[in-house]
Protein backbone atom coordinates (compact mmCIF):
# COMPACT_ATOMS: atom_id res chain seq x y z
CA UNK A 1 0.00 0.00 0.00
CA UNK A 2 2.83 2.34 0.71
CA UNK A 3 3.90 2.32 -2.92
CA UNK A 4 0.44 3.14 -4.21
CA UNK A 5 0.60 6.88 -3.63
CA UNK A 6 3.98 7.00 -5.25
CA UNK A 7 2.74 5.07 -8.25
CA UNK A 8 -0.34 7.16 -8.90
CA UNK A 9 1.75 10.32 -8.83
CA UNK A 10 4.30 8.68 -11.08
CA UNK A 11 1.73 7.55 -13.65
CA UNK A 12 2.80 10.15 -16.20
CA UNK A 13 5.07 13.12 -16.68
CA UNK A 14 3.50 16.53 -15.97
CA UNK A 15 4.52 19.00 -18.67
CA UNK A 16 5.79 22.32 -17.26
CA UNK A 17 3.70 25.34 -18.27
CA UNK A 18 6.74 27.13 -19.67
CA UNK A 19 7.44 24.29 -22.11
CA UNK A 20 3.81 24.25 -23.32
CA UNK A 21 3.79 28.01 -23.97
CA UNK A 22 7.18 27.93 -25.72
CA UNK A 23 6.12 25.06 -27.99
CA UNK A 24 2.93 26.94 -28.87
CA UNK A 25 4.92 30.09 -29.72
CA UNK A 26 7.39 28.05 -31.80
CA UNK A 27 4.48 26.52 -33.74
CA UNK A 28 2.97 29.96 -34.42
CA UNK A 29 6.35 31.31 -35.59
CA UNK A 30 6.84 28.29 -37.87
CA UNK A 31 3.34 28.83 -39.34
CA UNK A 32 4.28 32.44 -40.13
CA UNK A 33 7.58 31.20 -41.61
CA UNK A 34 5.86 28.66 -43.85
CA UNK A 35 3.44 31.31 -45.16
CA UNK A 36 6.33 33.77 -45.55
CA UNK A 37 8.35 31.17 -47.47
CA UNK A 38 5.83 31.40 -50.32
CA UNK A 39 7.16 34.90 -51.02
CA UNK A 40 10.51 33.40 -51.99
CA UNK A 41 11.11 31.07 -54.87
CA UNK A 42 13.44 28.17 -54.09
CA UNK A 43 12.70 26.62 -57.47
CA UNK A 44 12.26 22.86 -57.21
CA UNK A 45 12.90 23.01 -53.45
CA UNK A 46 9.70 24.92 -52.61
CA UNK A 47 7.91 21.71 -51.68
CA UNK A 48 10.84 20.44 -49.61
CA UNK A 49 11.09 23.71 -47.66
CA UNK A 50 7.35 23.60 -46.86
CA UNK A 51 7.53 19.91 -45.88
CA UNK A 52 10.64 20.41 -43.73
CA UNK A 53 8.83 23.13 -41.75
CA UNK A 54 5.75 20.91 -41.42
CA UNK A 55 7.90 18.00 -40.17
CA UNK A 56 9.51 20.24 -37.53
CA UNK A 57 6.05 21.45 -36.42
CA UNK A 58 4.66 17.92 -36.26
CA UNK A 59 7.73 16.75 -34.31
CA UNK A 60 7.23 19.50 -31.73
CA UNK A 61 3.59 18.48 -31.30
CA UNK A 62 4.45 14.77 -31.01
CA UNK A 63 7.43 15.19 -28.65
CA UNK A 64 5.97 17.78 -26.25
CA UNK A 65 2.19 18.18 -26.62
CA UNK A 66 1.85 14.40 -26.97
CA UNK A 67 4.51 13.73 -24.31
CA UNK A 68 6.26 11.14 -26.49
CA UNK A 69 9.70 12.33 -25.36
CA UNK A 70 8.86 11.49 -21.74
CA UNK A 71 6.73 8.47 -22.54
CA UNK A 72 7.20 4.73 -22.46
CA UNK A 73 9.74 4.10 -25.29
CA UNK A 74 7.54 1.35 -26.65
CA UNK A 75 5.00 3.98 -27.78
CA UNK A 76 7.80 5.66 -29.76
CA UNK A 77 8.60 2.34 -31.43
CA UNK A 78 4.94 1.96 -32.42
CA UNK A 79 4.81 5.50 -33.80
CA UNK A 80 8.12 5.37 -35.68
CA UNK A 81 7.17 1.94 -37.03
CA UNK A 82 4.01 3.50 -38.42
CA UNK A 83 6.02 6.26 -40.10
CA UNK A 84 8.29 3.63 -41.70
CA UNK A 85 5.26 1.97 -43.29
CA UNK A 86 3.84 5.33 -44.42
CA UNK A 87 7.12 6.21 -46.15
CA UNK A 88 7.30 2.75 -47.77
CA UNK A 89 3.72 3.16 -48.97
CA UNK A 90 4.14 6.63 -50.47
CA UNK A 91 7.78 6.17 -51.53
CA UNK A 92 7.21 2.95 -53.44
CA UNK A 93 4.05 4.35 -55.05
CA UNK A 94 6.06 7.30 -56.34
CA UNK A 95 8.92 5.26 -57.82
CA UNK A 96 7.18 4.44 -61.10
CA UNK A 97 4.20 6.74 -61.15
CA UNK A 98 5.46 8.97 -63.98
CA UNK A 99 6.44 5.98 -66.15
CA UNK A 100 3.06 5.61 -67.82
CA UNK A 101 2.26 9.26 -68.30
CA UNK A 102 3.24 9.44 -71.98
CA UNK A 103 1.04 6.44 -72.75
CA UNK A 104 -1.91 8.13 -71.08
CA UNK A 105 -1.20 11.32 -72.96
CA UNK A 106 -1.15 9.36 -76.22
CA UNK A 107 -4.45 7.80 -75.33
CA UNK A 108 -5.95 11.18 -74.59
CA UNK A 109 -4.49 12.62 -77.75
CA UNK A 110 -6.22 9.98 -79.84
CA UNK A 111 -9.52 11.14 -78.43
CA UNK A 112 -8.90 14.73 -79.47
CA UNK A 113 -8.10 15.89 -82.96
CA UNK A 114 -5.46 13.99 -84.91
CA UNK A 115 -2.99 16.89 -85.41
CA UNK A 116 -2.56 17.12 -81.65
CA UNK A 117 -1.13 13.61 -81.29
CA UNK A 118 2.45 14.51 -82.19
CA UNK A 119 2.57 17.59 -80.01
CA UNK A 120 1.25 15.74 -77.00
CA UNK A 121 3.72 12.94 -77.52
CA UNK A 122 6.58 15.43 -77.50
CA UNK A 123 5.43 17.16 -74.37
CA UNK A 124 4.27 14.15 -72.40
CA UNK A 125 7.56 12.30 -71.90
CA UNK A 126 8.81 13.84 -68.72
CA UNK A 127 6.92 15.57 -66.01
CA UNK A 128 9.47 18.35 -65.86
CA UNK A 129 7.83 19.77 -68.95
CA UNK A 130 4.45 19.48 -67.32
CA UNK A 131 5.67 21.76 -64.59
CA UNK A 132 6.09 24.81 -66.76
CA UNK A 133 4.49 24.33 -70.11
CA UNK A 134 5.54 27.13 -72.39
CA UNK A 135 2.61 29.39 -73.11
CA UNK A 136 0.76 28.49 -76.26
CA UNK A 137 2.39 25.11 -76.84
CA UNK A 138 3.42 22.03 -74.96
CA UNK A 139 1.68 19.06 -73.49
CA UNK A 140 -1.76 20.58 -73.28
CA UNK A 141 -2.38 20.78 -76.99
CA UNK A 142 -3.74 23.83 -78.68
Amino acid sequence: MSTETHESHGVAHVMPMKVLINIFLALVVLTVVTVGATLFDFGPYNLYVAMAIAVVKASLVVLYFMHLRYDNPFNSIVFVGCLVFVSLFIGLSLTDTTQYQHKMNNLQAEKVAAPNVEKMHEGGGSHEEHGEPPAGKGSLGN
Binding site: E4, S8, M17, F24, V35, A37, A54, V61, F89
Partner: protein, 303 residues
Protein backbone atom coordinates in the same frame (compact mmCIF):
# COMPACT_ATOMS: atom_id res chain seq x y z
CA UNK B 1 -15.90 -1.10 -11.42
CA UNK B 2 -15.09 -0.66 -7.78
CA UNK B 3 -17.65 -3.20 -6.68
CA UNK B 4 -16.49 -5.70 -9.30
CA UNK B 5 -12.91 -5.21 -8.21
CA UNK B 6 -13.83 -5.66 -4.60
CA UNK B 7 -15.81 -8.77 -5.28
CA UNK B 8 -13.27 -10.51 -7.47
CA UNK B 9 -10.06 -9.42 -5.77
CA UNK B 10 -8.76 -8.75 -2.35
CA UNK B 11 -10.68 -5.66 -1.21
CA UNK B 12 -7.68 -4.08 0.46
CA UNK B 13 -5.66 -4.09 -2.76
CA UNK B 14 -7.98 -1.87 -4.78
CA UNK B 15 -10.06 -0.24 -2.15
CA UNK B 16 -8.45 3.16 -2.57
CA UNK B 17 -8.28 3.07 -6.37
CA UNK B 18 -11.74 4.07 -7.45
CA UNK B 19 -10.91 3.98 -11.19
CA UNK B 20 -8.63 0.97 -11.23
CA UNK B 21 -10.30 -1.81 -13.20
CA UNK B 22 -10.08 -5.23 -11.61
CA UNK B 23 -7.81 -6.70 -14.29
CA UNK B 24 -4.97 -4.27 -13.60
CA UNK B 25 -2.49 -4.49 -10.78
CA UNK B 26 -1.57 -0.82 -10.58
CA UNK B 27 -2.87 2.50 -11.96
CA UNK B 28 0.38 2.85 -13.90
CA UNK B 29 -0.18 -0.49 -15.62
CA UNK B 30 -3.70 0.57 -16.52
CA UNK B 31 -2.51 3.93 -17.80
CA UNK B 32 0.36 2.48 -19.86
CA UNK B 33 -1.89 -0.15 -21.45
CA UNK B 34 -4.51 2.45 -22.32
CA UNK B 35 -1.88 4.73 -23.76
CA UNK B 36 -0.41 1.96 -25.90
CA UNK B 37 -3.92 1.24 -27.13
CA UNK B 38 -4.54 4.84 -28.14
CA UNK B 39 -1.13 5.02 -29.89
CA UNK B 40 -2.01 1.88 -31.87
CA UNK B 41 -5.33 3.49 -32.82
CA UNK B 42 -3.48 6.67 -33.87
CA UNK B 43 -1.17 4.67 -36.16
CA UNK B 44 -4.25 3.32 -37.95
CA UNK B 45 -5.47 6.92 -38.28
CA UNK B 46 -2.14 8.00 -39.75
CA UNK B 47 -2.19 5.08 -42.19
CA UNK B 48 -5.77 5.98 -43.17
CA UNK B 49 -4.73 9.54 -43.99
CA UNK B 50 -1.53 8.33 -45.68
CA UNK B 51 -3.72 6.73 -48.36
CA UNK B 52 -4.96 10.20 -49.28
CA UNK B 53 -1.47 11.69 -48.99
CA UNK B 54 -0.31 8.96 -51.38
CA UNK B 55 -3.05 9.88 -53.88
CA UNK B 56 -1.99 13.51 -53.52
CA UNK B 57 1.69 12.67 -54.14
CA UNK B 58 1.00 10.54 -57.21
CA UNK B 59 -1.28 13.10 -58.84
CA UNK B 60 0.99 16.00 -58.00
CA UNK B 61 4.04 14.16 -59.40
CA UNK B 62 2.16 13.60 -62.64
CA UNK B 63 0.28 16.90 -62.90
CA UNK B 64 2.13 19.61 -60.97
CA UNK B 65 0.54 22.29 -63.16
CA UNK B 66 -2.97 21.26 -62.01
CA UNK B 67 -1.99 21.83 -58.37
CA UNK B 68 -0.13 25.06 -59.06
CA UNK B 69 -3.14 26.47 -60.91
CA UNK B 70 -6.05 25.12 -58.84
CA UNK B 71 -4.66 26.11 -55.45
CA UNK B 72 -5.12 29.75 -56.55
CA UNK B 73 -8.83 29.13 -55.91
CA UNK B 74 -8.07 28.61 -52.20
CA UNK B 75 -7.73 31.47 -49.73
CA UNK B 76 -4.41 30.91 -47.98
CA UNK B 77 -5.30 33.40 -45.22
CA UNK B 78 -8.35 31.35 -44.20
CA UNK B 79 -6.08 28.30 -44.17
CA UNK B 80 -3.51 30.14 -42.03
CA UNK B 81 -6.18 31.29 -39.55
CA UNK B 82 -7.39 27.70 -39.23
CA UNK B 83 -3.82 26.52 -38.67
CA UNK B 84 -3.35 28.97 -35.80
CA UNK B 85 -6.77 28.05 -34.36
CA UNK B 86 -5.88 24.34 -34.32
CA UNK B 87 -2.41 24.99 -32.87
CA UNK B 88 -3.98 27.08 -30.12
CA UNK B 89 -6.53 24.34 -29.42
CA UNK B 90 -3.63 21.88 -29.16
CA UNK B 91 -2.07 24.14 -26.52
CA UNK B 92 -5.28 24.33 -24.50
CA UNK B 93 -5.70 20.55 -24.81
CA UNK B 94 -2.14 19.82 -23.61
CA UNK B 95 -2.65 22.40 -20.84
CA UNK B 96 -5.92 20.65 -19.96
CA UNK B 97 -4.08 17.34 -19.48
CA UNK B 98 -1.71 19.15 -17.13
CA UNK B 99 -4.65 20.66 -15.25
CA UNK B 100 -6.22 17.21 -14.89
CA UNK B 101 -2.93 15.79 -13.59
CA UNK B 102 -2.72 18.58 -11.02
CA UNK B 103 -6.38 18.26 -10.03
CA UNK B 104 -7.33 21.77 -11.20
CA UNK B 105 -10.95 20.95 -12.00
CA UNK B 106 -12.27 24.42 -12.92
CA UNK B 107 -9.25 25.15 -15.11
CA UNK B 108 -9.64 21.75 -16.83
CA UNK B 109 -13.30 22.40 -17.69
CA UNK B 110 -12.46 25.90 -18.96
CA UNK B 111 -9.56 24.66 -21.11
CA UNK B 112 -11.65 21.85 -22.58
CA UNK B 113 -14.35 24.44 -23.34
CA UNK B 114 -11.82 26.61 -25.18
CA UNK B 115 -10.56 23.58 -27.11
CA UNK B 116 -14.13 22.71 -28.09
CA UNK B 117 -14.76 26.31 -29.18
CA UNK B 118 -11.59 26.27 -31.31
CA UNK B 119 -12.88 23.14 -33.06
CA UNK B 120 -16.12 25.06 -33.70
CA UNK B 121 -14.26 28.06 -35.13
CA UNK B 122 -12.25 25.73 -37.38
CA UNK B 123 -15.42 24.11 -38.74
CA UNK B 124 -17.07 27.52 -39.29
CA UNK B 125 -14.12 28.71 -41.37
CA UNK B 126 -14.24 25.39 -43.24
CA UNK B 127 -17.95 25.97 -43.87
CA UNK B 128 -17.24 29.40 -45.36
CA UNK B 129 -14.59 27.85 -47.62
CA UNK B 130 -16.84 24.98 -48.75
CA UNK B 131 -19.69 27.44 -49.39
CA UNK B 132 -17.40 29.44 -51.68
CA UNK B 133 -16.42 26.27 -53.55
CA UNK B 134 -20.11 25.41 -53.90
CA UNK B 135 -21.09 28.82 -55.22
CA UNK B 136 -18.08 28.94 -57.56
CA UNK B 137 -18.84 25.47 -58.92
CA UNK B 138 -15.35 24.26 -58.03
CA UNK B 139 -16.39 20.90 -56.59
CA UNK B 140 -15.02 17.39 -57.04
CA UNK B 141 -14.63 15.39 -60.27
CA UNK B 142 -17.82 15.53 -62.38
CA UNK B 143 -19.21 18.34 -60.23
CA UNK B 144 -16.44 20.68 -61.33
CA UNK B 145 -18.15 23.42 -63.32
CA UNK B 146 -16.32 26.62 -62.40
CA UNK B 147 -18.33 29.81 -62.77
CA UNK B 148 -15.35 31.92 -61.79
CA UNK B 149 -11.65 32.05 -62.41
CA UNK B 150 -9.21 31.89 -59.48
CA UNK B 151 -9.31 35.65 -58.92
CA UNK B 152 -13.03 35.50 -58.19
CA UNK B 153 -13.60 36.77 -61.73
CA UNK B 154 -17.07 35.81 -62.92
CA UNK B 155 -18.46 34.89 -66.31
CA UNK B 156 -20.07 38.28 -66.53
CA UNK B 157 -16.75 40.02 -65.76
CA UNK B 158 -15.11 38.23 -68.64
CA UNK B 159 -17.79 37.85 -71.24
CA UNK B 160 -20.35 40.49 -70.31
CA UNK B 161 -23.90 39.99 -69.03
CA UNK B 162 -24.72 37.47 -71.79
CA UNK B 163 -22.48 34.82 -70.23
CA UNK B 164 -20.05 32.47 -71.89
CA UNK B 165 -22.52 30.80 -74.22
CA UNK B 166 -23.60 34.07 -75.77
CA UNK B 167 -20.29 35.84 -75.81
CA UNK B 168 -17.57 33.24 -76.29
CA UNK B 169 -16.23 33.95 -79.73
CA UNK B 170 -15.64 31.06 -82.07
CA UNK B 171 -11.92 30.76 -82.34
CA UNK B 172 -10.42 29.48 -85.57
CA UNK B 173 -8.15 26.83 -84.04
CA UNK B 174 -10.20 25.91 -81.00
CA UNK B 175 -11.61 22.39 -80.66
CA UNK B 176 -15.32 22.39 -79.94
CA UNK B 177 -14.76 21.34 -76.33
CA UNK B 178 -12.75 24.39 -75.39
CA UNK B 179 -15.08 26.75 -73.61
CA UNK B 180 -13.70 28.52 -70.62
CA UNK B 181 -16.61 27.89 -68.29
CA UNK B 182 -18.00 24.58 -69.48
CA UNK B 183 -17.33 21.53 -67.45
CA UNK B 184 -14.19 19.87 -66.14
CA UNK B 185 -12.10 20.59 -69.22
CA UNK B 186 -11.34 24.20 -68.53
CA UNK B 187 -8.81 25.40 -70.99
CA UNK B 188 -10.20 28.49 -72.64
CA UNK B 189 -6.95 30.33 -72.27
CA UNK B 190 -4.81 27.62 -73.84
CA UNK B 191 -5.91 29.09 -77.15
CA UNK B 192 -3.61 31.70 -78.49
CA UNK B 193 -5.50 34.91 -79.07
CA UNK B 194 -6.44 35.67 -82.65
CA UNK B 195 -5.65 39.15 -83.90
CA UNK B 196 -8.31 41.76 -83.41
CA UNK B 197 -9.96 43.19 -86.46
CA UNK B 198 -12.63 42.41 -89.01
CA UNK B 199 -11.42 38.82 -89.60
CA UNK B 200 -10.59 38.02 -85.96
CA UNK B 201 -11.94 38.89 -82.55
CA UNK B 202 -14.03 41.87 -81.73
CA UNK B 203 -12.23 44.71 -80.02
CA UNK B 204 -14.65 44.45 -77.10
CA UNK B 205 -13.76 40.79 -76.49
CA UNK B 206 -10.02 41.48 -76.63
CA UNK B 207 -10.52 44.25 -74.10
CA UNK B 208 -12.43 41.98 -71.75
CA UNK B 209 -9.92 39.18 -72.16
CA UNK B 210 -7.11 41.59 -71.24
CA UNK B 211 -9.12 42.69 -68.22
CA UNK B 212 -9.45 39.07 -67.18
CA UNK B 213 -5.74 38.42 -67.47
CA UNK B 214 -5.02 41.56 -65.52
CA UNK B 215 -7.46 40.41 -62.85
CA UNK B 216 -5.71 37.07 -62.62
CA UNK B 217 -2.31 38.62 -62.09
CA UNK B 218 -3.63 41.26 -59.70
CA UNK B 219 -4.98 38.62 -57.33
CA UNK B 220 -1.59 37.21 -56.51
CA UNK B 221 1.02 39.68 -57.60
CA UNK B 222 3.92 37.57 -56.39
CA UNK B 223 2.94 34.55 -58.43
CA UNK B 224 0.62 35.45 -61.30
CA UNK B 225 -0.63 32.59 -63.43
CA UNK B 226 0.80 33.17 -66.88
CA UNK B 227 0.69 29.77 -68.58
CA UNK B 228 -2.31 28.04 -70.10
CA UNK B 229 -5.11 26.93 -67.80
CA UNK B 230 -4.40 23.22 -67.30
CA UNK B 231 -6.76 20.37 -68.07
CA UNK B 232 -8.22 18.12 -65.37
CA UNK B 233 -8.28 20.77 -62.65
CA UNK B 234 -11.08 18.74 -61.06
CA UNK B 235 -8.44 16.25 -59.81
CA UNK B 236 -7.20 18.88 -57.37
CA UNK B 237 -10.68 19.52 -56.02
CA UNK B 238 -11.47 15.79 -55.66
CA UNK B 239 -8.33 15.44 -53.53
CA UNK B 240 -9.02 18.70 -51.70
CA UNK B 241 -12.52 17.64 -50.68
CA UNK B 242 -11.49 14.10 -49.73
CA UNK B 243 -8.57 15.25 -47.57
CA UNK B 244 -10.20 18.25 -45.90
CA UNK B 245 -13.51 16.37 -45.64
CA UNK B 246 -12.00 13.40 -43.84
CA UNK B 247 -10.04 15.79 -41.65
CA UNK B 248 -13.22 17.78 -40.93
CA UNK B 249 -15.00 14.58 -39.87
CA UNK B 250 -12.13 13.92 -37.47
CA UNK B 251 -12.49 17.44 -36.04
CA UNK B 252 -16.21 16.81 -35.49
CA UNK B 253 -15.48 13.44 -33.82
CA UNK B 254 -12.82 15.13 -31.69
CA UNK B 255 -15.31 17.82 -30.64
CA UNK B 256 -17.78 15.10 -29.63
CA UNK B 257 -15.27 13.29 -27.39
CA UNK B 258 -13.97 16.56 -25.93
CA UNK B 259 -17.57 17.44 -25.06
CA UNK B 260 -17.90 14.05 -23.39
CA UNK B 261 -14.78 14.40 -21.21
CA UNK B 262 -15.74 18.01 -20.46
CA UNK B 263 -19.01 16.70 -19.02
CA UNK B 264 -17.14 14.09 -16.99
CA UNK B 265 -14.60 16.67 -15.84
CA UNK B 266 -17.39 18.97 -14.65
CA UNK B 267 -18.64 16.05 -12.51
CA UNK B 268 -15.20 15.93 -10.95
CA UNK B 269 -14.29 12.52 -12.30
CA UNK B 270 -10.68 13.41 -13.10
CA UNK B 271 -7.78 14.15 -10.83
CA UNK B 272 -4.14 13.31 -10.18
CA UNK B 273 -5.02 9.62 -9.71
CA UNK B 274 -7.16 9.24 -12.80
CA UNK B 275 -6.90 11.44 -15.88
CA UNK B 276 -6.50 8.74 -18.55
CA UNK B 277 -9.47 9.72 -20.80
CA UNK B 278 -8.32 13.37 -20.85
CA UNK B 279 -4.82 12.32 -21.92
CA UNK B 280 -6.06 9.87 -24.58
CA UNK B 281 -8.58 12.29 -26.11
CA UNK B 282 -5.78 14.87 -26.11
CA UNK B 283 -3.48 12.53 -28.07
CA UNK B 284 -6.21 12.06 -30.69
CA UNK B 285 -6.80 15.82 -30.92
CA UNK B 286 -3.07 16.45 -31.48
CA UNK B 287 -3.03 13.98 -34.38
CA UNK B 288 -5.94 15.89 -35.95
CA UNK B 289 -3.78 19.02 -35.56
CA UNK B 290 -0.75 17.29 -37.13
CA UNK B 291 -2.76 16.20 -40.18
CA UNK B 292 -3.77 19.83 -40.71
CA UNK B 293 -0.14 20.97 -40.25
CA UNK B 294 0.63 18.93 -43.40
CA UNK B 295 -2.58 19.73 -45.30
CA UNK B 296 -2.12 23.49 -44.99
CA UNK B 297 1.15 23.82 -46.98
CA UNK B 298 0.23 20.97 -49.36
CA UNK B 299 -3.12 22.48 -50.41
CA UNK B 300 -2.90 26.23 -49.76
CA UNK B 301 0.76 27.16 -50.17
CA UNK B 302 1.74 25.50 -53.45
CA UNK B 303 4.22 27.51 -55.48
Amino acid sequence: MTTVAQESHEPHEHGNEEHLAHHWDTPKQQFDAGKLGIWLFLTTEILLFSGLFCAYSVYRANHPEVFEYAHLYLNKWLGAVNTIVLIFSSLTMAWGVRAAQLGQKKLLVTLLGITLACGGVFMCVKFVEYKDKWSHGTLWAGEYHPHVLPGGVTKADVFGPGGAAAATPTLPNAPATQKAFDGPIFEGSTVARAPAGPAGLSAAWVEKESAREEHLSVRDTERPWTGPVPKNTQIFFSIYFLMTGLHGLHVLAGMAVIGWIMLRASRGEFGPKYFNPVDFVGLYWHVVDIVWIFLFPLLYLIH
